[in-house]
């Protein structure tokens, strides 16, 4: 009797284990927030060749390495800079620039170059009169080689000291984009 009871309870207890099934296929999430591509288009003021710096990482973090296109700028020249952000993992590609523009008070781009003669000035403003950086003016000086780092900070402290002037040190917030290009001025 005892043995029978234990045996039947054992079967009951392990029966859970016998209900075997395959895990269903997961639904692949729609990564609409992803930014895959940054294009910085520099149009020379007064005519000349347009330069496009681009950073493209179609498969996001990991996987294949990003494709970085650097550029050569003319010396002593002013350019109108325009930034474009895309999510090319979606088809058709989604324009993230629009999202940034809608939330421009919560975003700011920072431009940092190792070339001392290369200056970048903001040419746009959010509703509070603070810079955003979607459009900018780039001025080159003498021939030089170096890098340009473009950073997009989400929720920066725009009123902190130096931030409106383009200094990132006191910006707080967190980085949404940080890309570095090699630049040749000749």
């Amino acid at each position: 009797m005892t043995t029978k009871l234990i045996a039947s309870l054992f079967v009951l207890s392990t029966s859970l284990f016998l209900v075997s099934c395959e895990k269903d296929d997961p639904e692949i999430p729609n990564e609409e927030e992803l930014i895959t591509t940054l294009n910085y288009t520099l149009t020379p003021q007064g005519g000349g060749d347009t330069v496009t710096l681009s950073f493209q990482d179609l498969d996001g973090d990991g996987g294949n390495a990003p494709v970085i296109t650097s550029g050569t700028l003319a010396a002593n020249q002013s350019y109108t800079g325009s930034l474009e952000l895309l999510n090319e993992a979606e088809s058709p590609a989604e324009d993230i620039t629009e999202e940034i523009r809608e939330e421009d008070e919560e975003h700011q781009f920072f431009f940092l170059s190792t070339i001392s003669d290369l200056t970048i000035a903001y040419s746009d403003q959010d509703a509070d009169g603070n810079p955003v950086g979607l459009t900018s003016t780039v001025s080159t000086g003498a021939a030089a080689a170096g890098t340009l780092t473009i950073t997009l900070i989400h929720e920066p402290a725009k009123s902190a000291s130096g931030v409106a002037g383009g200094a990132i040190a006191n910006a707080s917030g967190e980085t949404d984009i940080e890309v570095t290009f090699s630049i040749n001025v000749q």
């Binding site: 005892t2 009871l5 234990i6 309870l9 054992f10 009951l12 207890s13 392990t14 859970l16 284990f17 209900v19 075997s20 099934c21 395959e22 895990k23 269903d24 296929d25 997961p26 639904e27 692949i28 999430p29 729609n30 990564e31 609409e32 927030e33 930014i35 895959t36 591509t37 940054l38 950073f55 990482d57 179609l58 498969d59 996001g60 973090d61 990991g62 996987g63 294949n64 390495a65 990003p66 993992a89 999202e99 940034i100 809608e102 939330e103 950073t151 900070i153 989400h154 929720e155 402290a157 990132i168 040190a169 707080s172 917030g173 967190e174 980085t175 949404d176 984009i177 940080e178 890309v179």
Partner: protein, 776 residues
């Protein structure tokens, strides 16, 4: 007969047959014994609540109450160094009681190192008492264990923490909530166990070499969170506990109600918590509020002393804010944060608001346990349980997506277990058991982010047997366990286009234990444990893939990981010469083969958001060894002292470097002044067990780490001081306990090595807590 863990035994011996029910001439008398040496216990205070009268035991432990009318009475027993006990009595005849109190001199600080009567006796352990649980009901489970030797906390800010025992946590540590292995996303270093400690009557940490009876892939240590059985007591009893904490302005309300009737015994526990931004020494820690609501229901019934049934259900719901300034983008942000004096986003104002980043977790448990007694020595236990863990984590996101979780996981777990116990041939005890666990883990695609850990189902089944023998001076315990795990995993590839890749894994694990305890003399004992255990790689170790926010690192699992194994040896020495002194020292060593850990890689990974450090799950050989010392003594008359010391060292023996995230060495000490004699104000009110305590926790700098193993050097040594004053007011029908305490009394600025937010902010500053507990 159902009580296998007898801590407190009451035997009723009825003398006299004359039930002269209307005469108030009955007597209650008896004798109280100390459980450990089994000698009479003098100066035990005994109080009959209904009559508001009390007495104490004499030299021989005897007491007597005369001229009592028939009726229902509640007797409370209290003694220095014992937890207070209460007995209900329906008096119809002259009654003699024989009372056994679990008296050890080691209860200062409210932790009783128990002389247990079950087969775990040969394994080292520490227990947190109900009193400590009530006084710290504003804390989470892990915090209750913080001051125990050999236990430390892995924290993520002030509100999220998980216990570390002898250097092991997460996947390597099993937490049993009411006998059921807590399921959920235990792998996450920033995930607290979802348990309301107020529902428990004791929390026990087993620090032995292997816990054969408990499944869950543990490599030695187990934390048992246990409600006790409902007392055989026909009146409604309950308590309300309220705690206010100045730091965070937190309100914490707990209540418990219970009643026994022959047809059904029931108990309900409820907890509500709300607190806001905590404050470090010099600034607010913005967005560190906590909200919690939980309830637990326990039902018990026994059928003709043959079958015992318990139904337990609990719901735990919490929202936890995470310091806003700790949410960063990439490595450059981390460097900026490290250079900043105060965390980013620090505000001057206090707030109860909980915004992103935050965690929102619900955990539900339902359990049915039945125990069938063939006879006193021979019983069978069947447990069936289900759990649902729902975890959502929110980060700061663009374009209104902050309200969409970045991690959303639902995990269902079903447990069943069958255990057969037989006592035979004078103190032999044999247990045979089977446990089965099915876990079904699913990501909700609402996140719009590729999941960090994949969807999976795992089936786990184990068989175990333990045999113990209790001789006069020696206890033996041997055990063997086999576990089989089958994992069915569905991952999503990283490439373009995304593909679904399936994996199937099978693992076989063995564990074994050899434990012995020798009573060298009446007051000294030595315990020896040797245990071997295997743990197969967990899902996160095999398949993690992606950014782990908060550490701002990319974590990559490795599908080729092998099962890790560990051999743990412990040696414990206890000496309890008299009620004025006791000491216990526990030495342990654990040797790992194929130890799985997150190894920081030399190269950073370039993404559009900048560079990220990469951590890969890798394997190595390692060892962890340490020493826990606990001592308690009477300084003079009413002054008592307690000292604890924990030492631990972890080493990667293959690469000859330290293991990261190992607890630093620490001291804990307290001095208690206790007013021994109850103070009677009037016939109806009495003040008992008034205590003034000064405590101190010293955590040394973790020197056992290389600079290249972390972003930031370990923080320096810190020392925290606290004071606490507590008292119990005894009325005829109820009891009120009040306490006031201050933690981090000197508002010290400090950071803790095991707090993951030490990169960003100081730890919590001064906090004053006031608590009132009403029991009836």
């Amino acid at each position: 007969m159902f009580n296998s863990k007898v801590v407190f035994v009451i035997a009723f011996i009825f003398i006299g047959f004359n039930s002269n029910s209307q005469d108030c001439t009955l007597s209650i008398k008896g004798q109280v014994f100390d459980e450990a040496p089994n000698t009479p216990l003098s100066y035990v205070n005994i109080f009959i609540q209904e009559l508001v009268t009390g007495t104490s035991t004499d030299e021989d432990g005897n007491f007597i109450f005369n001229d009592i009318c028939p009726g229902h009475y509640h007797l409370s027993f209290s003694h220095i160094g014992c937890e207070g006990q209460r007995i209900h009595l329906e008096l119809t005849v002259d009654t003699t009681l024989s009372v056994l109190m679990s008296h050890t001199p080691t209860s200062i600080g409210h932790v009783v190192i128990e002389g247990q009567r079950d087969d775990l006796i040969a394994q080292p352990n520490v227990t947190v008492s109900r009193q400590a649980i009530e006084d710290n009901a504003n804390q989470n489970l892990a915090h209750l264990l913080e001051n125990e030797a050999g236990v430390s906390l892995l924290k993520n800010g002030s509100g999220i923490s998980k216990p570390i025992v002898h250097g092991l946590y997460g996947n390597r540590l099993t937490i049993l909530n009411n006998g059921i292995a807590q399921s959920g996303q235990q792998w996450g270093n920033d995930h607290s166990p979802e348990i309301d400690p107020f529902a428990a009557d004791k929390i026990k940490v087993l620090k032995g070499a292997s816990a054969i009876e408990f499944g869950g892939g543990n490599l030695g240590s187990v934390i048992l969170v246990e409600p006790k059985r409902i007392e055989n007591e026909p009146h409604l009893h309950g308590q309300v506990n309220y705690i206010y904490e100045t730091n965070g302005r937190g309100h914490h309300l707990n209540s418990r109600l219970e009643k026994y009737t022959p047809s059904l015994a029931w108990r309900i526990n409820g907890t509500l918590k709300k607190s806001g931004d905590r404050k470090a020494a010099n600034y607010f820690l913005n967005n560190t509020g906590i909200e919690e609501a939980s309830v637990a229901v326990q039902l018990e019934r026994s059928f003709k002393e043959k079958l015992f049934l318990e139904v337990y259900g609990s719901s735990f719901n919490t929202r936890l804010g995470i310091l806003r300034g700790s949410h960063i983008g990439n490595l450059t942000d981390l460097e900026r944060a490290l250079a900043s004096d105060t965390p980013f986003f620090t505000e001057d104002n206090f707030s109860y608001d909980i915004d992103a980043p935050k965690q929102q977790v619900s955990h539900y448990l339902a359990k049915v346990k039945s125990k069938y007694f063939f006879n006193d020595e021979h019983f069978l236990e069947l447990v069936v349980a289900g759990q649902l863990n729902n975890r959502k984590e929110f980060d700061v996101r663009r374009s209104g997506r902050t309200d969409i979780p970045t991690l959303s996981l639902a995990q269902y777990t079903f447990d069943s277990s069958l255990k057969y116990t037989i006592n035979f041939d004078n103190h032999w005890n044999l247990k045979l058991g089977n446990q089965n666990i099915v876990t079904d883990n699913t990501n909700n695609p609402e996140t719009g982010i590729l999941p960090l850990i994949p969807d999976y189902i795992s089936w786990k089944s184990g068989l175990f047997s333990t045999l113990s023998k209790e001789l006069d001076k020696t206890h033996f315990n041997i055990g063997l366990r086999y576990d089989y795990e089958h994992q069915n995993v569905v991952t999503i590839s990283k490439g373009v286009p995304k593909e679904i890749i399936r994996f199937t894994n099978q693992f076989h694990n063995l564990s074994s234990l050899l434990a012995a305890k020798f009573d060298v003399t009446n007051t000294q004992s030595i315990s020896l444990n040797t245990g071997y255990a295997m743990r197969n790689p967990a899902i996160n170790e095999l398949y993690s893939s992606g950014l782990h926010q908060g550490v701002s690192g990319i974590e990559e699992g490795d599908v080729n990981l092998q099962t890790e194994s560990a051999l743990k040896n412990t040696l414990e020495y206890k000496w309890l010469p008299n009620t004025d002194f006791s000491i216990s020292a526990l030495l342990y060593h654990q040797q790992f083969k194929n130890y799985i850990f997150l190894n920081p890689q030399e190269e950073y990974r370039l993404t559009i958001r900048g560079a990220f450090p990469v951590f890969n799950y890798e394997q190595t050989d390692a060892n962890i060894y340490g020493l826990d010392i606990s001592t308690q003594f009477t300084i003079k008359n009413s002054f008592f002292a307690l000292l604890r010391y924990s030492y631990l060292k972890g080493k990667d023996t293959k690469n000859n470097i330290p293991l990261i995230f190992m607890p630093p060495n620490s001291f804990y000490g307290s001095i208690v002044y206790r007013i021994k004699k109850p103070i009677s104000f009037s016939q109806n009110i009495k003040i008992e067990e008034t205590e003034i305590e000064v405590n101190n926790r010293l955590v040394l700098e973790q020197n056992n780490i290389l600079a290249s193993q972390d972003f930031l050097a370990p923080p320096p040594t810190y020392n925290l001081t606290g004071v606490k004053i507590s008292s119990n007011f005894i009325f005829s029908k109820y009891k009120i306990r009040c306490f006031v305490k201050a933690d981090n009394l000197f508002n010290i600025r400090y950071r803790d090595y095991l707090n993951r937010q030490r990169y960003f902010a100081d730890d919590v500053g001064l906090s004053v807590t006031v608590g009132v507990n009403f029991k009836f």
